[in-house]
């Protein structure tokens, strides 16, 4: 899975391209579909589930001289 940031950037790119009207009608529908898929994936990553807290026991071993 791509990370959030690159998907977010891809979505912004699609929107800008469509707003400039640089794509033909069929291609724009494809881009629209793609944009909607990305939106769905991004939203699913923003679920407000509880954070998980774990305490690590880092053994601090004295340096032997």
């Amino acid at each position: 899975m791509k990370d959030f940031e690159s998907e977010y950037k891809e979505l912004q790119g699609i929107v800008e391209k469509l707003e400039k009207g640089e794509v033909n009608l069929d291609a724009s529908i494809d881009q629209f579909k793609k944009g909607m898929e990305i939106l769905k994936s991004l939203r699913s990553q923003l679920k407000k589930v509880e954070n998980e807290l774990k305490e690590l026991d880092v053994k601090l071993v004295d340096d032997e001289l």
């Binding site: 990370d3 959030f4 940031e5 977010y8 979505l11 912004q12 699609i14 929107v15 469509l18 707003e19 009207g21 794509v23 009608l25 724009s28 529908i29 881009q31 629209f32 579909k33 944009g35 909607m36 939106l39 769905k40 991004l42 939203r43 990553q45 923003l46 679920k47 407000k48 589930v49 509880e50 954070n51 998980e52 807290l53 774990k54 305490e55 690590l56 880092v58 601090l60 004295d62 340096d63 001289l65």
Partner: protein, 399 residues
């Protein structure tokens, strides 16, 4: 002890085993001592020798150079921790130093300035070394005191802004004899064994003496060599420690460090809603303009084809059919855009709640669809955009 002494008094030992025996007694003694430095020297670039003294006595001290947290000079007031040991080669007792700190604001300020200038000259604080923070980290290591307010502040902000994060707390002492080693070990541990997307190092405000560990050379160098980006939130706004200068991002406070670490999920959801609006609007606009140009063509054709003889009537009809098909095709695309945007909106229950609606469920979380589903005295949960209300039903009315 007495038994041991009795036993030993009759025993003849070699010198080596006598020294071993004495060291067996001496080395477990970890002593904290305050005094003045004298006779400081570095040998072979590796070993540090000096004496710690007061008006009446002195003790030889020994440590490895890489453990020396700042530049020592004769006359400096220091506090150290170490254990005594007989050196077999010389027969002299010296302290093996485990940790060392400066005493007194003046000395600290001087050491701070010197170290800062030295590290600055090396380019350690240069912005070219700063790593970029991840946009949305999934895991964060928090290196701070377990008991301080800093930790609670950070956890609260992370909870409010994000969700599903893996947070690893590495408790350390933020001041005192162990602080430098704790901080370095924690950073190295995370890099090696628990590589998170991001590290936050934090502590509340304090005096220059309290913040000493965060101004020490080993800590600065360990932060510098971390592969994982580090945000520091040490002290409060006016305190600038050397760890702040070397960190990839310096936050004013622990709270601020957490705010920088994660984006606000609610804000992003809002942005995504806006983006969806733009997407829909852009495509609808494109479709509408195509439709409009088809309209114009139809109109022009009607005018062109109206006058001529009946022979071209068939052609006229066929052309109109083609245009009508194209129009239908365009409108189908348009309604696809509308409905898919609508369905995406519909799958996000948060949106409904944001608009002021609420969802009623029973105690088990089952949605209540009808007044027939509930009984007098039953518990009901009402879910709103920012929380839940628990209530008891005392009346139902069928509509």
């Amino acid at each position: 002890m007495n038994n041991l002494l009795d036993l030993l008094s009759d025993q003849v030992l070699t010198v080596t085993s006598a020294v071993e025996l004495i060291n067996g007694v001496l080395t477990p003694l970890s002593l904290a001592i305050e005094g003045e430095v004298s006779g400081f020297k570095i040998s072979q670039d590796k070993f540090v020798f000096f004496d710690i003294k007061d008006e009446e006595a002195l003790l030889n001290c020994f440590m490895m150079r890489f453990n020396l947290p700042f530049k020592l000079e004769d006359g400096m007031k220091i506090k150290l921790k170490g254990y005594p040991k007989v050196r077999p080669q010389s027969g002299k007792i010296s302290l093996t130093i485990q940790s060392i700190e400066l005493v007194g604001e003046g000395a600290l300020q001087k050491a701070y300035e010197e170290l800062k200038n030295k590290l600055q000259a090396e380019g350690i604080f240069d912005s070219s070394h700063k790593k970029t923070l991840p946009f949305m980290p999934k895991s964060i290591a928090v290196i701070t005191s377990k008991s301080g307010d800093a930790l609670q502040d950070i956890l609260r902000i992370l909870k409010n802004r994000s969700g599903g994060l893996k947070i690893y707390l590495i408790p350390i002492s933020v001041q005192g004899q162990n602080a430098v080693k704790d901080i370095c070990t924690a950073i190295e541990y995370v890099n090696k064994h628990q590589p998170t997307d991001l590290i936050i190092i934090a502590r509340g405000g304090g005096s220059l003496e309290d913040l000493q560990a965060f101004n020490s050379e080993p800590v600065v160098r360990t932060v510098f060599s971390s592969r994982i980006p580090i945000i520091t939130g040490v002290g409060h706004e006016p305190d600038v420690t050397l760890i702040d200068l070397v960190a990839d991002v310096r936050a004013a406070t622990p709270t601020n460090a957490a705010e920088i670490a994660v984006p606000d999920y609610d804000q992003i959801l809002f942005d995504l809603d806006q983006t969806m609006g733009r997407l829909k609007f852009a495509v609808s606009g494109l479709i509408k303009s195509k439709y409009h140009s088809l309209d114009i063509i139809t109109h022009q054709m009607r005018q062109t084809l109206q006058a001529p003889a009946r022979g071209i009537d068939g052609l006229h009809r066929r052309m109109l059919n083609i245009i009508q098909n194209m129009q239908r095709n365009v409108w189908e695309k348009h309604s696809y855009v509308e409905s898919s945007a609508a369905s995406l909106e519909a799958i996000n229950p948060e949106n409904i709640l944001l608009r002021g609606y609420s969802i009623a469920t029973d105690a088990n979380g089952k949605i209540i669809y009808s007044v027939a589903n509930v009984n007098f005295g039953q518990k009901m949960i009402t879910k709103l955009k920012d929380g839940n209300i628990e209530s008891i039903i005392n009346k139902t009315e069928q509509r």
